[in-house]
Each structure stands twice: as C-alpha cells, then as structure tokens.
C-alpha cells in the first residue's frame, strides 16, 4: 500500500532525510522510531504530500504522491504532529467539514461522523468548540478526522502524545484493531508502544534507517537478550557468582543488585541461548545447591537499550 523509495529531503544545506526506502502492506502496523529531529515527521509529511521530496519517490496505493496527489490523498488519513484543528469550530462542525471535504454527503456523511464519534469517545464534547477542550479530547478529535473516511492507509504522527495512560491504551487498541485491515505508519518515542502495537518497527536516526524488523527481532539485538536473571535469598554473592560461572553454557556472570540477603545476578550465555537451554542449566544448579530462588527468567532483550545503542553514537558526534 505504501511504497517509499530513496526518499530524501534537504532544508538548505541540512539533509533531514537521506534516501529512505521501505514498504508497508495492508495488515501491517509500522512503528516509526527515532530521537527528536531524526526526520520522522519530515518523512511522514512527504508521504502525505504536504512537503515535496527533494529526491526519491513515495506512492500510496500505487499513486505517486507528486504526480497524482489527489488520488493518493484520497486513500490516506493523516494525523499531523500536535493534532491541529480549527480552534473556533465545534467538534461536530469540524468533523462534518472534514467528512464533506472527503467527498461524503448526506446520509453517508452523518453515518461517518457518528461512527468516528463513537470510536473516539467524543459524544460528550460534540457541541463544544475545539479551543475549550482538554488536550486529550483535542487529540482524539483530530484522530477522528483522520479515520472519518475509513481510509486504507493511515499516517499517524505521535498519536498518543499528550494522552493520559487510559487514553493511550484506548488509542493503541484502536490502532491495533484497525491495523488488521489497513496499512498504518505511526511515529512515537514511547518504546513500549512499539511492542504493544507494531508488527514491524523502523528506527531512524539523523535521516537514515538504522534498524528495520519486528519488535522481537530488534529486541534480540540487545546485549542482555538471552541472558538469564535470577534472584536468590541467603547466599553469598561471590559464592553464587563463582558457581554460576562454572556452568558449561555461561559466558560471564554479573551481580546486578545486592540488598541485604537478596542477590540478583545475570548470567550471559556463550553464543546463542537456544530454547532457554541456559535457564535449564541454571535451574539444575539451583536445585543441586538448594538455593532459595525468588525469581528466574530468560531476558527477552530490551528495546530501549537497543534504541540507545543504535542512536547514541550519532548524538555524541553531534555534540562534538
């Protein structure tokens, strides 16, 4: 549905987006990650046809956004960053306006407005003007606007920004549900969101794609992925560490935390840790030694760590 080829954008001498390529199919939810100023919004603005690319191509549903903008825009719903809407209009007026400009008339218009009002929980504020709304409602109003014509493609720039935890959860559920039938791109810098919603994630940094894969794949790039953590009670940390290091599969052992009687240790695997082999090893040892275990699990890896590892070197360079 969405195809991006070597898309670039430069603002004067500054290269904001540098030859980005990716595709999103129907039924996919693509998470767009990256530090502030990485080029996420610029990329989305090019895909939606707001700013023209300096190079490369973007097409939606087979329509090139530069050559056939109207056809491409018709297929798309877009929630811009900060969720703008006309401050002096009522929520109802605003939604009717966007429905009309999407070509909906009469009954179809009414049905569309009712549908999104229900989906986005806007009944209570329908006749209030947008400027009197709280940020959460304002955000949902703009979100409602983006799905009013039930588009095949949704581009959402930080859809959960400024929402409270409950609203965040609602929006995520909504995105995940819609993602089954649509092609969705959404940007965020909340990493847990990516795990909760996305089928695939792209990390971009300084205008370039630095990672592209499922959240699981990305997590595996984390240093701790595959390591086994355990917390035991009443054992000397040095002794435990020494015993654990002697395991055949163990590479090195770290003491993560020590408080009173409790010790938390992390055992890193030698090479790949297939099917939790290392965890079984550790468990056998624990039983043999008769340690009092409070917790034992294999680490899945942490997205935030991967994110930092990938994007940090570049930020350092900037600081220089």
């Amino acid at each position: 549905m969405i195809k991006v080829e070597n898309l670039s954008k430069s603002f004067g001498p500054k290269l904001a987006v540098n030859k980005i390529s990716f595709e999103v199919q129907r039924g996919e939810v693509l998470g767009f990650l990256g530090p502030n100023g990485a080029g996420k919004s610029t990329t989305m603005r090019m895909i939606t046809g707001y700013i023209p690319p300096s190079g490369g191509k973007a097409s939606v549903g087979g329509f090139d956004i530069v050559e056939k903008p109207i056809e491409a825009k018709r297929l798309m719903g877009y929630l811009p960053e900060n969720a703008p809407s006309y401050a002096d209009m009522t929520v109802s007026g605003f939604l009717h306006f966007t429905a009309e400009i999407r070509g909906l008339r009469g009954d179809a218009k009414k049905r569309a407005v009712n549908r999104v009002v229900e989906m986005c929980f806007l009944e209570n504020v329908l006749h209030q003007s947008v400027e009197t709304l709280s940020k959460g409602y304002r955000h949902r109003t703009c979100f409602a606007q983006s799905i009013i014509h039930d588009p095949d493609v949704l581009i959402l720039d930080e859809p959960t920004d400024g929402l409270d935890p409950n609203q965040k959860h609602e929006v995520r559920t909504l995105i995940r549900r819609m993602g089954e039938k649509k092609a969705i791109i959404f940007s965020t810098h909340i990493l847990e969101e990516v795990e909760a919603v996305c089928s695939r994630a792209i990390i971009i940094d300084r205008g370039e794609i630095v990672a592209n894969g499922t959240p699981q794949e990305l997590k595996q790039r984390s240093d701790v992925a595959g390591a086994v953590s355990l917390r035991i009670n009443g054992v000397e940390s040095a002794a435990a560490k020494q015993k654990l290091s002697q395991l055949a599969l163990a590479d090195k052992v770290n003491v993560v935390k020590e408080s009173g009687q409790k010790v938390t240790l992390r055992v890193f695997a030698k090479g790949e840790n297939v099917d939790g082999e290392l965890a079984r090893n550790v468990a056998e040892l624990v039983m043999k030694e008769n340690w009092r275990v409070e917790e034992l699990h294999t680490e899945e890896g942490r997205l935030d760590e991967v994110f930092r590892n990938i994007t940090l070197p570049d930020t350092k360079e900037v600081e220089k």
């Binding site: 209009m89 306006f97 070509g103």
Partner: protein
C-alpha cells in the same frame, strides 16, 4: 464539478469561522458606524444638497484601507499558526481550491457588510431622486475594490504566521495603490515633467479606476484592472504557499 464542491466546502467553513468568533460582528458594526459617520458628518451628505451618494462612496477606499486587511489577515496566517494548514493541504483538494475558497468566503463576508449599508440608499431615495444606476455602478466598484484589497491581504497573510505583520504589510500595499493616483502625489510627479511616468503610476491607482464606477460607468478596463489585481494576488498566494511547504 468536484472542484466546485471543494471550493464551496472550504468557503462555507471559512465563512462559518467569521461568525463563530466576534470578528464578524465587530467588523460589521464598526464598518457601518464609520461609514455612517463619514457619509453624514465628514462627507457633508446634507450640505451638498444633491440626491447622490458621492459623499458615501468617496470614503470607501480609505475605510477599506484599514478594515479589509483586518478581515483578510487571518486567512492563512491563522492556518499556519494553528498548524491546520498541514491538515488542509493533505486533504484531497488542490492548493488553488483552498485559496479560492478562502478568498471567496472573505469576499462574500465583505459584500454582506456592504449590503447592510442599504439604509443609505433608502434615505437618499426618500429625500430626492437619485440616479440609481449610478449608485448600482458605484456598489459594483466598491465590491471590486474591496475584493482587490482582500486578495492582497490574502497574499500577505500567507507570508507570515503573525497576523499583525500580515495586517501592516497589506495596509502599506493598499495605501500605495491609493496614493499613486492621489492628486498630491500625481502633482508631485507632474513637477518632474515626465507625463509618461505620471500616467503609468496613476494607472496602478485604485482611485483612478474607482472613479469611473462612482460616476456610474462600468468600464471594462476598470473591471479588468480590479480582477487582475485579484488574480495576480491569489496566484502569488499560491506561489508563497508552495514556497512555505518546500521549506
């Protein structure tokens, strides 16, 4: 057909926007109060002793100078400030449809304010026998004059997200268009003894072109003059917006 529907939708929203805020009411009240004051007090409507609206229409270019940029200044700068421009221009419409729609809405609003001056026409008809053809012509001229100022404000409002800056720039441009045909200025140029220059400069003045309408003459040259100011300004608005988007 589709283009027409899009323009209509945009214009409807924009017009609704005027009436949703106090802008519309404040503008209409002030406009009517000022035009009444100038016509009857400063213009000497009664002292003239003739059944015409000369004292009414003479003031239009001057009154519009400050009032029209006040309604035009928000057209695009407001969109830029709120960020709704991004929303509007990623809808399945072309940029020119948005520009024309917004311009037409503000023009329609101005025409509405102008229509509300009808008591003046009734008064003069009650008091004497004016030439209503002349009055009609002058109204058409006033409408075109206001439209030209509006198109200019539309252009300047696309330049900046600050409404005050947009207002000041459009007042200056409109003032220039008035002054280049104003006798004190043309007399100054006459002293330079370059009649061609005087003619050329004066040809750009809205005053010279508005005069014809005030006499009830609908000259195609005058109509084309105003329409081309509108056309040129709206075209430039499009260029400015494209420039904004390209970054």
């Amino acid at each position: 057909m589709n283009a027409f529907a899009n323009i209509k939708t945009i214009a409807k929203r924009e017009l609704g926007g005027y009436f949703a805020s106090p802008v519309a009411y404040v503008f209409i009240v002030i406009f009517l109060l000022l035009i009444g004051f100038f016509t009857f007090m400063a213009g000497g409507f009664f002292e003239r002793g003739e059944a015409s609206l000369t004292s009414f229409f003479t003031w239009h270019p001057w009154l519009y100078l400050f009032l029209v940029p006040a309604i035009g200044m928000r057209l695009w700068s407001e969109e830029r400030r709120l960020g709704t421009m991004e929303l509007l221009l990623t809808m399945p419409i072309t940029t020119w449809q948005a520009i024309v729609g917004k311009f037409l809405a503000s023009w329609l609003f101005l025409i509405l304010a102008l229509v509300l001056t009808f008591p003046v026409v009734i008064t003069v008809n009650y008091l004497g026998n004016p030439d209503n053809g002349v009055i009609f012509g002058a109204y058409v001229g006033s409408m075109l004059l206001g439209g030209s100022y509006l198109a200019i404000s539309c252009m300047t409002s696309a330049l900046t997200r600050n409404q005050v800056v947009s207002f000041i720039i459009s007042v200056v441009i409109c003032l220039f268009l008035i002054l280049c045909g104003y006798p004190p200025v043309t007399n100054l140029l006459l002293r330079l003894e370059m009649p061609r220059l005087v003619e050329a400069v004066a040809a750009f003045s809205v005053m010279t072109h508005f005069e014809g309408f005030q006499k009830g003459v609908l000259d195609s040259r005058d109509i084309i003059f105003f329409l081309s100011i509108i056309g040129f300004s709206l075209f430039t608005t499009g260029v400015i917006i494209r420039g904004n988007r390209a970054g």
